[in-house]
């Protein structure tokens, strides 16, 4: 059945701003490109917005910035751990699969959560269960399963829940 949509000038305002900014950075903030970028930032969301779900907005931008910052630090720190593991003998390695129970259900926070897990060295998110209640993660070196699960949940899932308010 066809659903008739009401025309909206800016269906996804934050995406428009992001698109415009990226265009400016690519073209070194010249005046002509400011206009061209604005045209794109208005027209592209008209075409794309009906294809995707509603724009997810971070309700707590300061927390979101802090989350990004902490993720970057985590990447650096655990990179060191993985480098150490790589240079040691293969026999000391204890790879494992773990299942992390999930509390968030919305697509965007869930994507950010799984991506964060994949980005921090030592863990790669492998698969979601059908009901989106479990995330399967492969770990390069596992010492204590319960400790790692609660660490992942406390470090990434709890702040994400606060940021998106779900």
């Amino acid at each position: 059945m066809d659903k008739i949509r009401k025309f909206v000038w800016f269906p996804t305002p934050y995406h428009s701003i992001l698109l415009w900014l990226v265009w400016q950075i690519l073209h070194d903030f010249s005046r002509g490109h400011m206009v061209l970028g604005a045209v794109f930032a208005i027209i592209i969301p008209w075409i794309v917005a009906p294809l995707s779900e509603k724009e997810a907005v971070a309700k707590n931008p300061i927390k979101a910035l802090m989350y990004t910052f902490r993720l970057l630090i985590d990447i650096a720190v655990s990179n060191y751990d993985v480098a150490k593991r790589v240079l040691q003998s293969n026999h000391t390695l204890k790879p494992a699969f773990i299942a992390v129970p999930l509390d968030i259900k919305e697509p965007v926070p869930l994507t950010i959560f799984t991506s964060s897990v994949s980005l921090t060295p030592g863990t790669v998110s492998v698969e979601l269960s059908d009901d989106r209640k479990w995330l399967y993660v492969h770990v390069l070196h596992l010492e204590d399963e319960q400790q790692l699960i609660s660490l992942i949940k406390a470090r990434y899932e709890v702040p994400l829940k606060e940021i998106f308010g779900c």
């Binding site: 690519l26 990447i75 480098a83 293969n90 390695l93 790879p95 699969f97 698969e127 269960s129």
Partner: protein
Amino acid sequence: MTVFLEVIVSVLLVFGSIVMLIGSIGLAKLPDYFTRLHAPTKASTLGVACILTASMIFFSIQQGHVSLKEVLISMFLLITAPVAAHMLAKAGLHYKVKMTDSTQNQHLAKKAYLHENPDDK
């Protein structure tokens, strides 16, 4: 360009290259598909970040204005790298790639393949 900045740029470049080298060594020597997946996805985050920071400092000074394109590169990289890793891991799961015997919780791999809950019988 002052000597001080040149030293910073060189140190960042060398450090980034070392991280990438360790990532490549890991890709070659780790025992199975899933563990090998870890090494390169990681090197591409910290290693590339160091090299991009060096490039940003160098070109900002050379051109006389702040060069922001590197920020874009790292942003796109941070968005796409985990997706690629996820798809590779998923593909490995589907082809039932052999794991090293020391892998713990191998029964979970089967559950993951079927998209089931871990406590289902």
